[in-house]
């Protein structure tokens, strides 16, 4: 059974009498421990799908099911313990006046989980940060380090599903590879399910088993990883996206730069 099931999801924003249909009738299903990618240019509704799952966007139609159960509104703590998200901009996603320790231990406090000291240190080690960083403030860290903290925070509650909203697009190329490899390692170690958004097919190619291409809020095509690597896509739009990033993909999997 699929872990994430989305059926005919529609999201419509209303502002000043205008309606913007950001997502139109998108359906997808992601199996447990699968890594699923959403690709498209900006404004294609890919991030909105993630936000809709988290209850941060107005769902106007369709259903979202996690583990066979429709998600409750508001999402609630049980949902928090299952689904977490890593945001795009690590400079904006950490509270500037909280130490890393506070950022990481807060989810434990909310859910009444004990043994916080050990779990915070463990979380830092898991994402490859030295425990000495524990009482630093975000402004004392680099972008890549911040994104590692954001990933650690998302994993504090040991969720099954991680929603990744362009987790590396704010980072420079060498750091990007490190963070992507970290995410792949964590997925293997903790048996996570990824739903990942990116505008960069090279990133998606490195990370995902299946890919959905979106344009103007609609599904264009769903491609398996093998078909993407062999450039077997059926629509012209998917092919044009592929060609735009093909030169980087043909270099093979992204290696960490030194």
């Amino acid at each position: 059974m699929a872990l994430i099931e989305i059926e005919n999801l529609s999201v419509t924003f209303r502002a000043k009498g205008q309606e913007v249909r950001a997502v139109r009738d998108v359906s997808l299903s992601v199996g447990a421990q699968e890594s699923y990618g959403l690709v498209g240019e900006s404004g294609s509704g890919k991030s909105t799908i993630l936000r809709a799952i988290c209850g941060m966007a107005p769902v106007t139609g369709g259903t979202i099911r996690i583990g066979g159960q429709p998600v409750p509104t508001p999402r609630g703590r049980a949902f928090s313990a299952q689904v977490q998200m890593v945001f795009q901009d690590p400079y904006a996603s950490l509270h500037p006046r909280h130490t890393i320790d506070r950022t990481l231990s807060e989810p434990l406090a909310i859910h009444g989980i004990g043994d916080r000291d050990a779990r915070v240190v463990q979380a830092l080690t898991d994402v490859g940060l030295p425990p000495a960083f524990r009482f630093r403030y975000p402004h004392q860290l680099s972008g890549g380090q911040r994104q590692r903290v954001a990933i650690a925070r998302a994993l504090m509650l040991r969720p099954r599903i991680l929603l990744l909203d362009e987790p590396t697009s704010a980072l420079d190329a060498s750091v990007q590879a490190e963070v992507l490899n970290l995410l792949n390692r964590l997925r293997a170690e903790q048996g996570l399910t990824f739903l990942m958004v990116s505008h960069d097919l090279a990133v998606i190619d490195h990370m995902c088993d299946r890919i959905m291409v979106l344009q103007h809020g609609r599904t264009v095509e769903e491609i398996a990883h093998a078909d993407l690597a062999a450039a077997r896509m059926t629509t012209a739009y998917a092919r044009s996206l592929f060609e735009a990033s093909a030169d980087r993909m043909l270099d093979g999997p992204v290696e960490p730069a030194r």
């Binding site: 977490q84 901009d89 500037p96 009482f135």
Partner: protein, 301 residues
């Protein structure tokens, strides 16, 4: 000393306390480089010391009258700043008046910003009808001139120092609510609030733990800048006979009683006036300096 400094500026603090003290140390370093802010801090510090040690510093009892020595000019032996119309020593009265000024300032500083912060952050965070209701309430309070509203409140409650504080606090909170709401609106749509909401945090936890710390610097700056205004309003109420009651040595009251002699015995009104002026200046300079130190835009750099 040098080990303490190294401990404070350690980039890898070993505990929550060290991290917090390290940040405070950095803020102190920034404020120390700002000369005007230091001048303000010194003035406020002197005010605190004078108020604390008033009985030791004051040469005379501020309430003892000596009609044979009334309206003596400044520089008279025994009465450095002269005496008022009841022959009381003006210097001693100013020194004891510092206590009352500080009392009023402190009480207003712990009430008005707290009310304002609470209303502003709640309005900004929830939005919708809660925001509309709370902000219209704020508008109503803002629509009245502060002194007039304070006057009306004191007239209802009766004169006295506690009622003066209450009146000032009730008229001083709306600007804090505005500042806090504006700050909350910029913070509430940020990713770190979305992240903590996604962790399942309750609204009170988000407001108290995540929104308020972001609003606090602007509110603190506003408070120190407003302290001068609070002192002036307290003095104004005293001057009009609606604040502190005689014979308490309150600065505004002292100016009021010196008004009759302004042309012949100018020092009776001028000396407490100077005290108000210097203390107001001190708070303003300190507020300006704190703005440079605490402003989130400059602190992030």
């Amino acid at each position: 000393m040098s080990t303490l400094r190294a401990w404070l500026s350690d980039p890898n603090p070993a505990s929550r306390r060290q991290a917090r003290l390290g940040q405070a140390w950095l803020a102190w370093q920034r404020i120390r480089r700002n000369r005007l802010a230091m001048a303000g801090l010194v003035i406020v510090g002197i005010l605190l010391l004078v108020a604390a040690f008033a009985p030791l510093i004051a040469p005379h009892d501020p309430l003892v009258q000596d009609l044979s020595r009334r309206l003596l000019p400044p520089g008279t032996p025994g009465n450095l700043l002269g005496t008022d119309d009841f022959g009381r020593d003006i210097l001693s009265r100013i020194i004891y008046g510092a206590r009352i000024t500080l009392y009023i300032v402190a009480l207003v500083a712990v009430t008005a910003p707290v009310i304002g912060l609470l209303i502003g952050t709640v309005a900004g965070y929830f939005g919708g009808w809660i925001d509309a209701t709370l902000m219209r309430l704020t508008d109503i309070f803002l629509a009245f001139p502060r002194l007039i509203l304070a006057l009306a409140l004191v007239a209802v409650l009766g004169p006295g120092i506690e009622n003066a504080v209450l009146a000032i606090a009730l008229t001083a909170w709306p600007p804090y609510a505005r500042v806090a709401r504006a700050e909350t609106l910029t913070v509430r749509s940020s990713d770190y609030i979305a992240a903590i909401r996604l962790q399942g945090a309750s609204a009170p936890r988000i407001i108290a733990g995540h929104v308020v710390p972001m609003c606090l610097p602007s509110v603190i700056i506003r408070v120190t800048l407003d302290m001068a205004g609070v002192i002036l309003i307290a003095a104004g109420l005293g001057f009009l006979g609606l604040g502190v009651l005689p014979p308490t040595p309150e600065w505004g009251l002292m100016i009021s009683s010196g008004r009759k002699y302004l042309f012949e015995q100018w020092w009776v009104a001028t000396m407490p006036g100077l005290a108000i002026f210097i203390v107001s200046l001190g708070f303003n300079l300190l507020g300006d300096g704190l703005r440079d130190v605490l402003d989130p835009r400059s602190a992030s750099r």
